[in-house]
């Protein structure tokens, strides 16, 4: 036990579940937040049986922006203090639908970007005051370059990456680590049964990478590591060629 509590936003996410287990095994306490009460209860039980960690939970909805300040106040009331936060909330959405239905497009952007910004705002201010701790944001390689097959999701993740980059710049002087995680394809319910997946990683592998990066106080990581090189190549393709590619 290290008496440090990590707030997990989107605790029912496949990546978050694996990361929560890895953090609990390291002795962190956890506060799970999500929108499915019965799942959160089951997950809390499971984590505490597996690792003996202290686990609590509460509810939030990423789209319910007005409630986010109060939500975090309640988390603090429940936990006393928070040492770190991990945001795994996100929605892949349906690109084709989003091209025809602005409500759906907005929904994707909110779930991955605006809603997450709103959630992180009180948390960042709190940690800045504490002058310690970390924020981990799960962005995506999809944010590195917009592609026709998922540019709504991609652009919202690009927004998130830029937000995290700015936040890191701001919080560095307060000793708060801001870690941007850019996974490639991961075997979770977000991708299950979807076509066109390759080099798919298991959430446990991503979790290991995240915990190691927290410990090393890293800034930006691609997971698994080879996505750094894949994205470097994809970003380097000149636009005139890129626009003719099917990606």
């Amino acid at each position: 036990m290290n008496n440090k509590t990590v707030l997990i936003l989107g605790a029912t996410s496949g990546i978050a579940k694996a990361t929560a287990q890895a953090l609990a095994a390291k002795g962190y306490g956890l506060h799970l937040a999500g929108r499915d009460k019965s799942e959160l209860e089951i997950l809390s039980q499971d984590l505490s049986i597996r690792s003996g960690a202290k686990v609590s939970y509460s509810l939030f909805d990423v789209h319910n922006v007005d409630s986010h300040q109060q939500f975090f106040k309640d988390v603090l009331a429940q936990c006393g203090t928070i040492y770190g936060a991990l945001v795994a909330v996100g929605e892949l959405g349906d690109q084709i639908l989003a091209q025809n239905d602005p409500t759906h497009a907005k929904r994707i952007i909110d779930a991955n970007f605006t809603g997450v910004v709103s959630l992180l705002t009180p948390i960042a201010n709190y940690l800045e005051e504490q002058r310690q701790g970390f924020i981990v944001g799960i962005s995506s390689v999809a944010g590195d370059r917009g592609r026709q097959s998922n540019y709504l999701y991609g652009s919202s993740k690009a927004g998130l990456s830029a937000f995290l980059s700015g936040l890191r710049n701001r919080l560095a002087k307060s000793n708060v680590q801001v870690l941007t995680v850019k996974p490639g394809f991961v075997n979770t319910k977000m991708t299950f049964g979807k076509q066109g997946m390759f080099l798919v990683a298991e959430p446990e592998d991503i979790a290991k990478g995240i915990v190691a990066a927290i410990e090393k106080r890293q800034n930006v990581i691609y997971l698994p590591w080879f996505w750094f090189w894949i994205m470097k190549i994809i970003r380097s393709i000149p636009e005139p060629i890129f626009i003719r590619m099917k990606m």
């Binding site: 496949g14 499915d36 799942e39 089951i42 499971d46 049986i49 597996r50 299950f192 049964g193």
Partner: protein, 463 residues
């Protein structure tokens, strides 16, 4: 999210392959959704599509695939729900594996009461196949430790089943190969241990008579027993093998350097696996090396092994099932009642050695009298010897297993459904006879439209 296209799926033997749709729910709500989507439980309770739960797919044949229907992968429903550290009573979701149970509870001083030859099976699969370990002679099968479970039925209801509540459905689900519904939660009792090590010894037997004599002589005094057989040996050496006896090491059994951390999970590097462990057998690809193994055994020498290399030598090799190539392989496991065991084993081993078909793995165990007490269950274990053989899939294989089936039937034995890929509706009915007729009445009651179907149940016309 359901996969749009059907996928080809098979069991551990990679034979046969079956086209099926798969879904992988991560919450209770999404499980119910997946079941509804499959048409399994519409309002009238009438099903329009097949449905079947799948654990880790460690059954060998076609038991864990819904042919053309919806196969529901249970592996993400793998949460521990409650644990009583006084009694060892554990409540969990069915996707939890034996590996996870050991990982979590060995450090707390508890062990899974029954473990199969691989730790990568789920509790759901363990109940549905009513699995056995090397301790059947002492403890019976997995279901002996299951106090109750909750079953999602074709009607879309979740019902509690125990020896008292819905007892008929409880027994029909044990060994019921997923055909009564989907287990969504279970409760079982773990066994206390003092250390994570096993003290064991191996004893050589020059032929079957000697080997069976060794079982008689030693088994009762040991928690675990299993024998490895050379199935190419003939005549006077027929059935020669090595009996491996084991017990959970007590604190006092441990060498000094292990006493400080008796419940370690990671095998201690200093405890090297002795060369007569099964894993070294498996690293060699031909049975001709059985000789070297056989004569290397230091009969009767007590040794200490960590639980992992003792129970799960095969797990260290990863996807060893691929060793047999694309065509896949079958595992043939039968059990023969005590009185007929010797005769039947002699005939079966003769049949193998005459064909020159040495099974890569030939394992002999003995089931005791703590068998499933219900006559409505398809649970495999009956008292007697159980022999397990592997064969690569090839042209004359089915012909050969038919011959084995005849031998088994003529001696009042049966074949294990969790391993089977070859039985026919007729041979199955003869083997499971009265129990099957009783079981069927409960199946009709709980799943009148035969929603829960597997490729196995279709092949064997279990409906």
């Amino acid at each position: 999210m359901a996969g749009q296209d059907s996928t080809s799926l098979s069991g551990w033997g990679r034979y046969p392959s079956v086209d099926t749709f798969i879904d992988r729910p991560e919450s209770r709500a999404s499980l119910l959704q997946a079941v509804q989507n499959s048409g399994g439980t519409n309002s009238s309770g009438a099903g329009s599509g097949d449905l079947l739960a799948r654990g880790k797919g460690r059954s060998y044949g076609d038991a864990a695939e819904a042919a053309c229907g919806q196969t529901v992968l249970m592996e993400k429903l793998n949460r521990f729900m409650a644990f009583d550290s006084e009694t060892g009573l554990l409540r969990l979701e069915p996707g939890v594996t034996i590996a996870e149970i050991l990982q979590t509870f060995i450090p707390k001083g508890w062990f899974s009461p029954v473990v199969p030859g691989t730790k990568f099976v789920t509790v759901g699969g363990a109940i549905a196949a009513d699995i056995h370990g090397k301790n059947h002679h002492r403890d019976g099968s997995f279901s002996n430790f299951v106090t109750r479970f909750w079953l999602l039925t074709a009607a879309g209801e979740i019902i509690e089943c125990s020896r008292i509540q819905n007892a008929d459905i409880f027994w029909a689900t044990i060994g019921g190969m997923g055909l009564t519904g989907i287990i969504v939660e279970a409760e079982l009792t773990l066994s206390p241990i003092e250390s994570s090590y096993i003290s064991y010894k191996s004893i050589r037997a020059d032929n079957l008579t000697e080997l069976m004599g060794l079982f008689d002589q030693h088994e009762e005094r040991h928690h675990y027993s299993v024998a490895w057989i050379d199935c190419l040996a003939q005549k006077n050496s027929l059935g020669r093998g090595v009996l491996l006896l084991g017990d959970h090491a007590k604190l006092t059994d441990l060498p000094e350097q292990l006493k400080n951390h008796p419940l370690t999970l990671k095998p201690d590097k200093q405890v090297t696996v002795p060369f007569d462990m099964p894993s070294s057998l498996l690293n060699r690809y031909t049975m001709s090396t059985f000789n070297s193994l056989f004569y290397a055994v230091k009969t009767n020498q007590e040794k200490i092994a960590d639980y992992d290399s003792y129970f799960f030598p095969l797990d260290a090799i990863g996807s060893w099932n691929r060793m047999y190539g694309k065509a896949g392989f079958i595992q043939y496991q039968c059990v023969i009642p005590p009185a007929a065991s010797k005769q039947a084993l002699t005939e079966i081993l003769n049949a193998c050695s005459q064909k020159g078909w040495g099974s890569f793995l030939a394992v002999l165990k003995r089931f005791g009298s703590k068998t499933c007490p219900s006559n409505t269950s398809l649970s495999f274990p009956i008292a007697g010897y159980t022999l397990t053989l592997d064969f690569p899939v090839k042209a004359s294989l089915i012909e050969f297993t038919r011959k084995l089936d005849e031998l088994v039937i003529s001696h009042g034995g049966r074949v294990y459904l969790a391993k089977d890929a070859c039985l026919t509706p007729e041979t199955f009915r003869t083997m499971y006879n009265a129990n099957f007729e009783n079981w069927r009445q409960i199946k009709h009651k709980i799943d009148p439209d035969n929603v829960f179907r597997s490729a196995l149940s279709q092949r064997l016309e279990i409906n």
